[in-house]
């Protein structure tokens, strides 16, 4: 895969440099250096002095180091929110796309017990003292019930579990609040405006879209002859998932993951830009751009971060558009 990328595109090299800068920034604690102020040199224009080659902002903070810190922050936010939303969306997308409304049927005894146990777990989680212990109890009770007790009860009437309807209903609820509102609103409810909380909010905002993509991809595959015959020949679920479903949905999912990465970068930058994102002392692309609004002659505070953002987003889009990912098994 990497071979193909290397020969074909400039965007590959841009991304390599991007990731390297982000990792090096994390290693060398660029966050600290980005916050260093130099009061004697505020709003220094670029290319005037060697130590502040791209100029300084209202507190004399170096623009170049700020951009490097922005690279680090955007990479962390983009990567972890993309992975987080994939983690949520993979499970729910599989459940709603493959299992659907009718495939999984469990006996009514089991259904009722699981409902009661889930309620009890939630209740004890809120009012009890040892949540992990309760979770263990919950899982083991359901396991014992399913494995040992239920087979001895004879033929019971079974009920289909409507995974698809449930997931789509939840997505409908998320769709009712417009995206930017949802992120700002949820982030304002956190007492601490840290990067981890921001990633959680972005995952909450992003998972419905990714779930819908995975769901539709799986639904397209579900009735294809090779899947049907694999099911008919008695292939177990895990192998079916690993060998047949996953290789066929990986490409669109990766593309949408890259778009999710871009969206997370943009959300982080725009939230920080309007002052509702990361804390004020953190220097990132968004905070530099908002600094330029206070003093309009400072064009360097917007041009350089803007160019870097533009370059990285273009590179990511280029990678995803060219369909450079080819997985051969």
């Amino acid at each position: 895969m990497i071979d193909k990328l290397k020969h074909k595109s400039w965007s590959f090299w841009v991304l390599i440099i991007y990731v390297t800068i982000a990792l090096l920034g994390a290693v060398f604690n660029v966050d600290y250096w980005a916050q260093q102020t130099d009061i004697s040199n505020i709003y220094l224009a670029p290319f005037q002095s060697f130590s502040h080659i791209l100029g300084t902002d209202s507190l004399g903070r170096n623009t170049l180091i700020g951009i490097l810190n922005g690279v680090r922050i955007s990479f962390l936010v983009g990567l972890f929110s993309a992975l987080g939303s994939l983690f949520v969306a993979a499970g729910l997308g599989y459940a709603s796309g493959y299992l659907g409304d009718k495939l999984v049927r469990i006996s009514w005894v089991n259904t009722v017990t699981i409902l009661i146990l889930t309620f009890l777990l939630f209740f004890l989680w809120v009012y009890g003292n040892q949540p992990i212990f309760y979770l263990f109890l919950y899982v083991s009770t359901i396991f014992i019930l399913h494995k040992y007790i239920e087979p001895r009860l004879g033929n019971l009437k079974s009920i289909p579990i409507p995974f698809d309807s449930i997931v789509m209903k939840i997505i409908g609820i998320f769709k009712s609040v417009p995206g930017m509102f949802l992120t700002i609103f949820l982030f304002s409810l956190f007492s601490q405006r840290s990067m981890v909380n921001l990633i959680i909010v972005i995952v909450i905002f992003r998972w419905p879209q990714l779930t819908r993509i995975i769901r539709s991809e799986i639904m397209k595959l579900k009735n294809q002859p090779f899947i049907v015959s694999a099911e008919a020949s008695g292939l177990n679920q895990f192998t079916l998932l690993k060998n047949h479903l996953l290789p066929n949905i990986i490409e669109p999912v990766l593309v949408s993951l890259i778009y999710g990465f871009i969206a997370s970068i943009l959300i982080e930058a725009s939230l920080t830009f309007i002052g509702l994102g990361l804390p004020l002392e953190t220097v990132s692309w968004g905070s530099m751009l908002s600094g330029s609004r206070l003093y309009l002659p400072a064009w360097w505070l917007i041009l350089f971060p803007g160019l870097i953002m533009f370059l990285i987003i273009t590179a990511l889009k280029d990678i995803s558009n060219k369909k450079l990912f080819t997985f051969e098994y």
């Binding site: 609040v177 995206g179 002659p297 064009w299």
Partner: protein, 434 residues
């Protein structure tokens, strides 16, 4: 008929959304009573409320009522736990109840804490010492406690309840959720804790600006985008190819970047006299008598945001249009028409264009509900008093009284708009009915 049943299906979603937003509101870090007191003390000083004042405000805000129509609590919780005021005390009581699972002990602890109100530091340290471990060693602090507490603590440390048992209680209509939804939807809605305006009129005023802005940009962007997409596909000249590249690039620039650049270069003298084409964004005035007055006063301020949004939209619409058209032209029915001798322009005019515009209509049906929320960033950058600005400022000032009802109204309106958009789409494209 199907659309009617879809409308019915909206109702549970609406109820669920309102419940979720309500419980988020209940868990906000600020105390609503203190916020309420801040508004109505006109002198603007931060004053400490006496407990009588606190309680009267809390009763007015219905804080002594249960959260919801019913509650499921452990049976060692007292029935009247929702009447404990102030809210800080209620939270402490709940935390202690969760730890000790015994109402008598917790009740005594809380009373003890208030009994020692004059010597508060000592009382708190005692309670904290108790909270750490119930069978505390008999330290000096503990020895000075009243005898009744000592006996209780020693008693209860030996026989704690381990498992909370759920008990169900029905509260009826006198609850905070019912009250909140009723005030949000009534003609006497909640007041903003900053400006003393009621939320409904705030939202209505903001919505007019937002709809004006977004409708202007949608009406400009969609025809332009479709036309450009057609040109990108049909024309062979290099100019159009470069144009396509340009619009792709403009779409890739983040909207807030583009907006700030426009503000920077076109509203100031700093980059030469000729670039100062538009007035500075902070000089808008809303002192006109009516909405139309305000628009005509501020029309020149709307040019830059509309340009910003239109360039952003055109990028995606023209891209969709040209790619849809090229996808459509590879289909068999086009080949059939060609082989029958229909001219290429006729094929595009009569068949391919109509079919390739449906995805654009889907985009539009999504864009109209989204336009209710407005482009938040654009409104903040260009200082337009729309929905985005309202939400932004109420988050900034922690004005929960505006934020939660506004979000509720917006989500209701969005759901209904999605439903309307669905109906429009179905009437236009009969394939979607199946």
């Amino acid at each position: 008929m199907r659309s009617f049943s879809q409308l019915l299906m909206l109702i549970p979603t609406l109820i669920l959304v309102s419940i979720i937003i309500f419980f988020m509101k209940q868990n906000v870090p600020q105390d609503p009573v203190e916020q309420y007191a801040d508004i109505y003390s006109n002198d603007g000083r931060v004053s400490v409320l006496s407990s009588k004042e606190y309680n009267s405000i809390a009763y007015q805000l219905k804080l002594n009522q249960p959260n919801f129509y019913f509650s499921i609590r452990p049976n060692h919780f007292p029935d009247s736990i929702h009447t404990i005021l102030p809210l800080q005390r209620r939270a402490t009581t709940k935390a202690l109840l969760k730890k000790y699972k015994n109402w008598h002990l917790v009740d005594h602890l809380m009373q003890w804490r208030y009994f020692y109100a004059e010597d508060e530091i000592k009382a708190i340290s005692l309670v904290n010492a108790l909270a750490k471990e119930i069978n505390v060693e008999l330290t000096d602090e503990f020895n000075s406690a009243p005898d009744s507490i000592k006996i209780l603590v020693n008693d209860l440390s030996s026989n704690k309840i381990r498992w909370p048992i759920p008990s169900f209680k029905w509260h009826g209509l006198g609850n905070q959720y019912h009250h909140w939804v009723a005030t949000c939807l009534s003609n006497k809605p909640a007041k903003s804790s900053v400006s003393n305006d009621d939320v409904f009129s705030l939202v209505l005023h903001a919505l007019r600006w937002t709809l004006l802005l977004s409708m202007m940009s949608i009406l400009l962007a969609y025809p332009l985008g479709v036309a450009l997409g057609l040109m990108f596909h049909l024309s062979d000249s290099n100019i159009w190819r470069y144009m396509q590249k340009l619009f792709d690039a403009l779409y890739t620039i983040p909207m807030f970047c583009l907006g700030t650049l426009l503000v920077m270069f076109f509203t100031t003298d700093d980059y030469g006299k000729w670039t100062n084409l538009f007035p500075a964004i902070h000089s808008m005035d809303y002192t006109g008598t009516g909405f139309v007055d305000n628009i005509s006063n501020n029309a020149k301020f709307l040019i830059l945001p509309v340009i910003c949004m239109v360039t952003h939209y055109i990028g995606i619409i023209s891209y969709y249009m040209s790619s849809n058209l090229s996808k459509e032209l590879t289909k068999p029915y086009i080949r059939t028409a060609l082989s029958k001798g229909v001219s290429r322009s006729d094929i595009i005019k009569k068949h391919a264009f109509k079919n390739s515009i449906f995805p654009i209509i889907t985009l539009l049906t999504g864009a109209i509900p989204a336009s209710l929320a407005g482009a938040l960033i654009i409104e903040v950058i260009f200082n337009i008093p729309g929905m985005g600005k309202l939400i932004y400022s109420s988050v900034r000032l922690a004005d929960w009284n505006v934020l939660f009802p506004a979000i509720l109204m917006i989500s209701f309106a969005t759901l209904i708009f999605y439903w309307l958009a669905d109906i429009i789409y179905q009437t236009l494209d009969s394939r979607a009915k199946i």
